[in-house]
Symmetry: C2
Amino acid sequence: MASSSIPNVNVMMDKVKVSASNLFEQIEALGELSDTTPPSITRILYSENDVRARDYVKSLMVSAGLVVREDSLGNIYGRLTGSEDDELSPVVSGSHADAIPHSGKYDGVLGVLGAIEALRAIRDSGLRLKRPVEALMFTSEEPTRFGLSCIGSRAMCGRLDAGYLNSLRDANGTGFLEACRGGGYCKDGATTAEVLEASYVPKGGVHAFVELHIEQGPMLEDEGLDIGVVTAIAAPASVTFDFVGNGGHAGALLMPYRRDAGLVAAELALSVEQWALGTKAVDTVATTGVLQVYPGAVNSVPREAHVEVDVRDIDEERRDGVLSSIIRSAEVIARKRSVEMEHKIVNQDPPAPCDASVIDAVQESANELGLTSRRMVSRAYHDALFMAQIAPTGMIFIPCKGGVSHRPDEFSSQKDMENGVRTLALAMIKLAGVAETCDQEGKEEL
Amino acid sequence: MASSSIPNVNVMMDKVKVSASNLFEQIEALGELSDTTPPSITRILYSENDVRARDYVKSLMVSAGLVVREDSLGNIYGRLTGSEDDELSPVVSGSHADAIPHSGKYDGVLGVLGAIEALRAIRDSGLRLKRPVEALMFTSEEPTRFGLSCIGSRAMCGRLDAGYLNSLRDANGTGFLEACRGGGYCKDGATTAEVLEASYVPKGGVHAFVELHIEQGPMLEDEGLDIGVVTAIAAPASVTFDFVGNGGHAGALLMPYRRDAGLVAAELALSVEQWALGTKAVDTVATTGVLQVYPGAVNSVPREAHVEVDVRDIDEERRDGVLSSIIRSAEVIARKRSVEMEHKIVNQDPPAPCDASVIDAVQESANELGLTSRRMVSRAYHDALFMAQIAPTGMIFIPCKGGVSHRPDEFSSQKDMENGVRTLALAMIKLAGVAETCDQEGKEEL
């Protein structure tokens, strides 16, 4: 697949007018739909604010002139038809709008609202593309509610087992299907297997996928660059641990008699760090992001502890080695403290290389728009990781302030967002092919 | 103060019929008023279930023929008048009915319902005492909601500062006075200072205080004894720590750039254990009962951590040394990891010796009832610790299964509860003095 050549990009892109201020206002508006007070954003899968966010996204799609459809999991598509709509599969761009507790406004949201804005600008320009183009909002990229990330994109590429999904419970013990119905989806009595089947997109069903995202790292800002052209997505794995000791009264249970599950968790967290540092590779990261002790009272020895560990690397073998070492350490620590242990590998996905066709389309677009760029690896987890299994895939990064994300002070400037959305629009145009130019004037100049 | 002599205990105690099965049923009924599913008990200060528990306790007091009154904090008194009611201060017995998350049915509850049962049995026997006797339910012995234990008894003995109490917030940011109003108390617009003043009991206002409680340790069960005669209550202290690091995405924030607040908390928890073990004294205990990380997502480096540590010892100086060492360690660990730290000593109370008059009354009662017993130290924190500042105070322990408490499987047998309540009833009779014996028959036999 080669990208279509666009005779006069400058003339065409003068018509495809991306509005960074509209996008900024929409990001602010979506930020208001949060369980915590903005700029701290908390938007959990199928919660009231998630449902309101979905309504807002659909309203923006409609305003942009896109045809909206949803699958039974709540993956939301907004489609702009192409001149060869019946014959050709779509070029798709999207991301997610759920947000982990106390995070920021841009992670994911930029890629959803940015794709809608790109398609709106293309449509309003009068430009007619050969292929259909779609803006997509994925369901639950973040693992907050069910401990599993990228539920929507896993389902789309057929990498989600119904039995496994049924086995998941949220913190209140609610199962996935019940939660899904609570969000207004799969209300027709379908089984989990049927819901997954209905969300599945066969290989070839998407011509190309490209995701716009904030970098979530400091590289672009540090080097003063506009655009990151992503060449691969690092391989993530996560594992949960549950420990059960004896517990008891903090005054009455003397030290020699304690089997403190909280201290097992504490030792494990320090061990996780040591194993990550132990590879001496800058690309190895391991994090104890969840550490909970029960009953969680100052005067009670922790009887139980729940720990969730995330390990990533661009080298799959090295990552799997760290993961195994962490699990072995947990076993040793739990045995030493006579605490019971269970663990579960939640996900251990392979890394995804991006496709040359999409990398090239993004790189050419950035170049033609006069933007500075560099090739880079995505160290964070994205729906693109799974889309890569069914379609040629790429990503576009823009700088974010201080490289921070998953925090309330997460920030990207309007200028950077505009650069990203323009690059996305042009890359989608290249990937979808041009049927008719913007208007008579543009056509003459081409 | 010497205990009154009782000419014929056997005859009198044949009339003072304690019903262990009633008590057991009442404990089960109170256990149903829980935010978690029994036998896991969670009953938080001024919550809906706490208020329902209060109503239940008051109904039992009324059924037992006691005159009920409440102070503005919700300390609940049930009074049986004495023959010299106007001249003599009361003998009081009581405990608490709040329960830390996921704890059991007996801690505290035995001392409240046991005192009511003791007074009911005395009243129904026809025995008339010289002094009034009171069953008392204290407000918030457990520190769950505001991080401070024994709020009711601290207020009663004048050891609670209004400014400090006003500074406390629960997990939702609610202040004490607002929470108190939510529970149905202090609705008259009173200030915190006025509320505390109205709960205050001056020295001499209570003739003697005795608290019945499960041991919360294994000693009585291990030695096959019926009753623990408490001679002193160990000195507790607690400190909270808040850490703030940088946080960020678990994939994107590389190891060298992390200032992980969760790992500071983990190191601190292990240091707390080391300092406790370091005294080589069996009586030193230190516990990290609360360890929370934020945002608490598997794919997010912990930006903040909150830790609560409890330190106890029967030697106040040694305990204070361990507390200081823990705070110094926290400072060193936080500095090493470039994480900000704040700490606050929540309480640091002196130990309380029990009064010889109450110890003797309890010891004599156990002996006269033919029960086996031993003298012992209470390592747990009780309202008796504060009552000791305004009245001669003692405690009665009964065995609990496996020595466990603050757990759903906390358990004491009906026989052990009966032994405890009979010992309590007789000790209260001795401390209050007998005006008239149970009935003509009893009187003749005396």
